[in-house]
């Protein structure tokens, strides 16, 4: 399509504006963490690193970060196992209700978080309470794992669809057992897809707030919950600013890893 000069310039300007809109808020968060003032008025009166050292000593934020990491690792581990199992079942077998299985996997992330949240909350209440088990980190992990399964599933299914099962058959023709063929042939083929899925699952869990609200027991505070609780407190604003800036900086890590893994995983969406 031969665009006129003006159309090209207009598109360039539009795209530049679009990218500005995407990145200005993130840059603002970074700049604001250096703001000596507690208010968010622009421009900031100066710059200071003081709040960064204050934030590093903030036990609330540090403990919340630790809880988030534990919840993320737990949920990722469960999602990896369950997601991979379903992915193999769906791609390597034909069975009645196969499409339904794929649909059920997507459901927890397709429905609004609040619906999943209260459903799990009342189920935990009715089933676990009589057993004397209350809500805690465990229930957060269960809740997160439920909607993390889909990202592992998607990544592994995409990989399995592109790798023919003839490799495994060849291995078995050469005398390898089912397990041996899996360990030596199939697993290396899906390894990077598993890593990408795990990365996505961890990120999804680390970022989750709604389901956490309804599945966390008393005293269990993940980082998003901590930020949400402290966001509106003027006293805590500088620490929240720093935590927010750290999270913006950390978001570069998964992009970098995904790029290293393979080009196709980076372009696959988070959902």
């Amino acid at each position: 399509m031969h665009l006129s000069r003006t159309a090209r310039i207009a598109l360039r300007a539009g795209a530049a504006l679009g990218f500005a809109v995407i990145y200005v808020p993130l840059l603002l968060v970074l700049v604001n963490s250096l703001n000596p003032d507690r208010s968010a008025s622009w421009p900031p009166p100066g710059f200071t690193l003081r709040w960064w050292s204050v934030a590093l000593d903030n036990t609330g934020a540090r403990e919340a970060l630790w809880v988030s990491v534990k919840a993320g690792l737990g949920a990722t581990a469960i999602a990896l196992v369950l997601g991979t199992l379903i992915a193999f079942a769906v791609t390597r077998h034909r069975f009645f209700g196969r499409d339904t299985v794929s649909f059920i996997v997507v459901l927890p992330i397709a429905l609004p978080g609040i619906v999943t949240g209260i459903a799990l909350n009342s189920a935990f209440g009715t089933v676990l309470a009589p057993l004397g088990v209350g809500l805690g980190l465990f229930t957060v992990i269960v809740g997160h794992a439920t909607f993390c399964i889909v990202v592992v599933f998607n990544n592994v299914v995409a990989r399995l669809r592109r790798t023919a099962s003839s490799y495994e058959e060849a291995a078995m023709d050469l005398g390898a057992t089912t397990f041996r063929a899996f360990a030596d042939v199939t697993f290396p083929l899906v390894r990077s897809a598993l890593l990408a899925g795990a990365l996505l699952a961890f990120a999804l869990s680390f970022d989750e707030i709604v389901v956490t609200t309804f599945t966390a027991g008393p005293g269990i505070e993940t980082l998003p919950i901590w930020i949400f609780d402290n966001m509106t407190r003027p006293q805590q604003a500088p620490v929240v600013n720093v935590v927010a800036a750290v999270l913006v900086l950390l978001s570069v890590v998964p992009i970098y890893v995904a790029q290293r893994l393979s080009s196709d995983t980076a372009t696959s969406s988070r959902v």
């Binding site: 995407i22 968060v29 077998h93 397709a110 189920a123 990120a203 080009s263 980076a266």
Partner: protein, 297 residues
């Protein structure tokens, strides 16, 4: 000697097990599916079912205890209580507004990244679109809280024009949600535009169409399914959201807030309210499916 027998015997068992698994694909399938399906159906679908069944129960208005008596009062209340009706309509309106805004903003960006930018730069631009998706949801909403707060960046930019920022409220909510879900709209449009065969555009030009006509008659019809695919995300993610509106919405209430505020005192009502976004999303998906967009997700 015995120490050497055990691994050999072990290997034999493994071999036999592997042989059995190899001969019986149904057994393999059962082993693969049992654990994940138990998790997803019993734990997840089970909880969901109980929740939606409880939407037909009521509560004792004195003790807030759930009374398991079948009634459709809650659903009746959804349609007759003015507040509920208003909030539901507002939520759908917000989700539609966010979707339209996302599409309008995403198009020029995607057109630039897919067809105007130098091919060398395109992968980098895609990464630039993707990166914000990895930044924390809450941090992005917080960023807009900073921008829109009194004396914040929005006020500062608009001041020379004699205007002030929108402050916290419904427009701020729409703006923030648009920002949050924009990449989900840019990406599918980018992919569609990138895959658009150049010879179709050349053919259109050869037949005498100017850029505008080619855009309307060739580009737009071919990209529309991707817009629809992106809209599934922008629409459904906006409809279920209740955190953003709490942070930048001022006193604005959306369906999610109503669900949230009813959980403690009237769980059945909260469940009934919760069915609304689910039903609307299902209807939206059914409508979108007719465009064939779901296969390009």
């Amino acid at each position: 000697m015995t120490s050497e027998v055990t691994p050999a015997a072990g290997r034999g068992t493994v071999r036999r097990l592997a042989g059995t698994l190899h001969r019986r694909p149904r057994l393999r399938l059962a082993l693969l599916l049992t654990a994940p399906l138990l998790w997803l159906t019993v734990l997840y679908l089970g909880s969901l079912t109980v929740l939606f069944v409880s939407a037909f129960w009521t509560t004792n208005s004195f003790t807030s205890q759930v009374v398991k008596v079948w009634s459709t009062d809650n659903f009746h209340a959804l349609f007759t209580t003015p507040v509920f009706r208003q909030v539901i309509l507002r939520s759908v309106g917000v989700a539609l507004a966010v979707t339209v805004l996302c599409a309008v903003i995403a198009f020029p960006v995607a057109f630039y990244t897919a067809r105007v930018a130098r091919p060398k730069w395109r992968p980098l631009l895609v990464v630039a679109i993707l990166t914000p998706l990895w930044a924390s949801y809450l941090v992005k909403v917080y960023a807009w809280r900073l921008i829109l707060s009194e004396g914040g960046l929005a006020d500062w930019i608009l001041k020379p024009l004699g205007l002030s920022g929108p402050g916290f409220g419904l427009p701020a909510t729409v703006l923030t949600l648009t920002y949050l879900w924009l990449p989900y709209m840019i990406l599918p449009i980018h992919t569609a535009l990138e895959q658009l065969p150049a010879n179709l555009l050349d053919a259109s030009a050869d037949l005498g169409a100017k850029a505008g006509r080619t855009f309307r008659s060739v580009v737009l019809p071919m990209v529309l399914p991707s817009v629809a695919a992106g809209s599934v995300f922008t629409f459904s993610l906006s409809l279920g959201d209740y955190i953003t509106v709490q942070i930048v919405g001022g006193k604005t209430q959306l369906v999610g807030n109503l669900v949230y505020s009813n959980i403690e005192l009237n769980l059945p009502m909260a469940a009934a309210l919760g069915t609304v976004p689910v039903l609307v999303i299902v209807l939206y998906l059914l409508a979108i499916r007719r465009t064939g967009a779901l296969t390009s997700l």
